[in-house]
């Protein structure tokens, strides 16, 4: 028998095939699905999640995990809104400063996250989960539980202004994705993520400062979380603690479904794009064909289990906790 389709190749392209198959299925189920308007809707819904997913992709490539994104997004969103309003409330004024400041704050949050993980030697899932809680708490402290409205039309044009049928934020997210891809492929740190994920001990023995790579990874992820927070605020014009709600689950599911293995060392940001699209096409498709929206958590739960199982070479694992 000829091995025209090798197992590796299939594994590599499976997520894309799944995405295409899903689009086919939903298009047949409801003709409204296949329209620019609906695709724009999917694009808008995917944008914040894509940014979070790109950030956490680096962490997962390293074989670690980050569960802090809900907190990170909440903090970034409310701090951004607060600063934005304090600086004048319009992009045309000094309020544009809030954007870079927020990105820096995001990286600081990631820095603390990484330091807690690396310096206190706490497994990343727990270090980041705790930091996520701290982030939620911080955002509550800032807002006192209230919502902050960001109504600057210039800022909201991220949503309202459309080119080629898609809002500006979708285009911005794609630019950020390409930057993410550049980091992954063309920077030293990006390549070091793969080295750490492929064999931490070996990387260390080759003289790589693994701790530094890990902390930097969390910082870069923090910047992308902050970016995700900006898009999330632009999407609904409101910043609140709940801005980050459910983003942890969606983003990790996306990364894993996209084909980046939890054990690290492979995958990348394009995989995460596919993953985010799969997740959002399913969400959107379920609504379009008339299934209740709240089923998505359950579907995502099943999806993530299936994806992890399929991507795991289980013979090579001693035992899993």
């Amino acid at each position: 028998m000829s091995n025209f389709v090798s197992k590796e190749k299939l594994q590599k392209w499976a997520p894309l095939l799944v995405l295409i198959a899903l689009i086919f299925v939903f298009s047949f189920a409801n003709s409204n699905f296949l329209s620019i308007r609906n695709f724009a809707r999917i694009g808008i819904a995917s944008t914040p999640a894509l940014m979070i997913a790109v950030g956490v992709t680096y962490i997962i490539i390293m074989g670690s995990i980050d569960l802090s994104m809900e907190g990170a997004v909440a903090v970034s969103a409310v701090l951004f809104a607060t600063l934005f309003i304090a600086f004048g409330g319009s992009l045309a004024s000094w309020a544009w400063l809030a954007v870079p400041v927020t990105l820096i704050l995001g990286s600081l949050f990631g820095l603390i996250n990484g330091l807690v993980h690396v310096k206190l030697k706490i497994p990343s899932f727990m270090a980041s989960l705790s930091m996520g809680f701290v982030g939620i708490g911080l955002s509550l402290l800032v807002t006192g539980g209230d919502r902050i409205r960001v109504e600057d039309p210039l800022f909201r044009s991220l949503l309202t202004e459309r080119y080629f049928g898609f809002p500006l934020m979708v285009h911005c997210a794609l630019v950020a994705l390409v930057i993410g891809w550049f980091i992954q492929c063309y920077t030293r740190i990006g390549r070091n993520f793969y080295a750490v994920g492929g064999g931490e001990d070996l990387a260390h023995a080759s003289g790589l400062n693994v701790q530094k790579v890990r902390v930097l990874g969390f910082m870069i992820a923090g910047v992308f979380y902050a970016l995700g927070a900006l898009f999330a605020v632009a999407q609904i014009g409101i910043a609140e603690t709940a801005t980050g709600y459910n983003l942890m689950f969606v983003s990790i599911t996306s990364v894993v479904v996209g084909g980046t293995a939890l054990w690290g060392g492979n995958g990348g940001v394009w995989n995460s794009l596919i993953g985010v699209l799969i997740v959002n096409v399913i969400n959107n498709g379920m609504i379009v064909v008339g299934l209740p929206r709240y089923l998505q958590d359950g579907v995502l739960g099943l999806l993530v289990i299936v994806a992890v199982v399929l991507s795991t070479d289980r013979k090579s694992l001693a035992f899993v906790k």
Binding site: R191, G197, G198, N266
Partner: protein
């Protein structure tokens, strides 16, 4: 001529073990030095001290007569000392060039971005040194083992450009995965490279060591027992030195070795095979017999033992325990049939550190000490006290944490776990590894006692001497197949060289 790299009376001690006992070692410019010794003789510790993974805690390391101390492998690299690991140490998801320059990528960064073209060029230059013509952008996992070995060498040879002085390159079992022609190629390459570098060559294959090296160091028990010119060396001679003193019959309690019961078969393997572990293995273990599996690391010994304990299943063939054929390969099933397993990693697989003596002893037989799932603590403690007494285990009480016992006493607890539960098929995987001499003798004594009581023992010994001294029968394995069977009646035991002949 002063040696360019020298160790003087180097010591290394780990908790409970003196791994290096005053090792003297020197390499001259352009020299190829062989390093041989049995497993556990201290070779790998010595290598780790040389390339900076461990720090010596006595004696001196001298480079060009100046004392140095490497805190990590990177510092050693900066002094020109590099290690060629076995082929598994390349990161398989990275490209060849990324592996070659791992940790030293900064030289290829332009304006924050990686200049892949430049790196590929540099990598090609390195690959040319080892005469390997492959695309540097190939993912490492796509290479053959031989190619990976050469990439490892190319990676270390980057030191040529980075370091001004001379190089010392360690080769750790570089030939273990190579075919004959590839070995010759590698040797030719190494000889050519002596213009720039000295080599330390570690291998189990004696003939190769003699062929390639100028001088050979022989290690045993953490000491260098001899250093000889390769021209004067022969295989038997070196092996003799590696093994050391002649077999001491009393040490292994040979006078207590009694004939086993040939009528009572405890374990029978009938032509079992398991992909990439072992092939067509048949054996019988009788009551009162000590059967030893001998072979190099990876010869399939461990896999066979794990099959008998139910931790993996054979793909072909039949396993019978006490005359009953086994269908489900599960550890609890085998334990019920009377099989007990004493694993090699005593501290990890043998005892549960953090649990006390009686909890450890009954771990495999909790069903026997409980009713409706409720444990009978008083009964467990009584049992533990009995066995503490019987095996003279040195523990403050049955409540003592097993993690705090000495190695020998931990091993006794593991043994008591199986013996107290009535297991009469005992699998011993390196039972004396890391024990001091007194504790080893205790273990030998216990093996004899078990035989007297009709227990069948399958042994993987720590040394060949131990295998010969203890067993009634020896099966020699090579590449997963049985190559020879020896009977070992006292007074008529095979020699070490008989065994080695069939091992390699």
């Amino acid at each position: 001529m002063i040696p360019m790299f020298e160790l003087k009376k180097v010591e290394k001690t780990f908790p409970g073990v003196r791994a290096l006992k005053g090792v003297d070692f020197e390499i001259k410019r352009g020299e190829i030095v062989g390093l041989v010794g049995e497993n556990g003789a201290g070779k790998s510790t010595l290598m780790k001290v040389i390339y900076g993974a461990y720090q010596h805690d006595g004696g001196e390391v001298l480079v060009d007569d100046k004392p140095v101390r490497f805190e990590n492998p990177r510092q050693a690299m900066e002094m020109g000392v590099g290690m060629v690991f076995q082929e598994q140490s390349l990161i398989s998801n990275l490209t060849v060039m990324e592996n070659i320059f791992l940790g030293f990528e900064q030289q290829f960064v332009r304006f924050g971005l990686m200049d892949w073209k430049h790196m590929a060029e540099a990598a090609r230059f390195q690959l040319a040194k080892v005469k390997l013509d492959i695309d540097p952008a190939t993912t490492t996992s796509e290479l053959s083992f031989a190619q990976r070995q050469l990439v490892e060498l190319a990676k270390v040879l980057t030191l040529e450009e980075r370091v001004d002085g001379d190089l010392v390159i360690l080769l750790d079992e570089p030939t273990s995965v190579l075919a004959k022609e590839e070995v010759e190629l590698l040797f030719k390459l190494v000889r050519e490279l002596t213009e720039r570098a000295s080599f330390i060559f570690v291998s189990h294959r004696m003939d190769e060591v003699i062929e390639l090296s100028d001088r050979i160091y022989v290690m045993k028990d953490g000491e260098v027992v001899d250093s000889l010119k390769a021209d004067d060396a022969d295989v038997d001679d070196i092996q003799h030195k590696m093994v050391g003193r002649n077999v001491d019959k009393e040490y292994y309690r040979e006078e207590k070795q009694k004939p086993f019961n040939k009528d009572q078969v405890l374990v029978e393997l009938d032509g079992i095979s398991r992909a990439s572990s072992y092939k067509d293995i048949s054996l019988k273990l009788h009551a009162g017999e000590v059967l030893c599996l001998v072979g190099t690391e990876g010869s399939g010994r461990e896999a066979i033992i794990r099959t008998i304990f139910g931790l993996n299943r054979p793909h072909l063939g039949q396993v019978s325990i006490k005359g009953e054929q086994v269908h489900t390969f599960k550890a609890n099933e085998m334990v019920d049939r009377g099989v007990g397993y004493i694993p090699r990693e005593r501290k990890i697989e043998g005892i549960v550190s953090g649990m006390n003596v009686y909890e450890n002893m009954t771990l495999s037989q909790m069903g026997r000490h409980s009713r409706f799932g409720v444990l009978n603590l008083a009964g467990e403690k009584k049992l533990a006290r009995k066995w503490i007494d019987r095996l003279s285990i040195k523990a403050s009480s049955e409540q003592a944490d097993c993690g705090n016992l000495s190695g020998g006493n931990q091993q006794k607890v593991v043994l008591a776990k199986w013996r107290s539960g009535g297991s009469n098929i005992i699998l011993l995987d390196h039972p004396t590894r890391g024990l001091d001499i007194g504790a080893k003798e205790d273990v030998y004594e216990m093996v004899r006692e078990m035989s007297d009581e009709g227990v069948g023992v399958i042994l993987i010994a720590d040394t060949l001497e131990e295998a010969i001294g203890l067993s009634h029968s020896i099966l020699v394995l090579k590449d997963g197949e049985i190559t020879k069977r020896f009977d070992c009646e006292p007074g008529n035991k095979p020699s070490l060289y008989d065994l080695v002949h069939y091992m390699v």
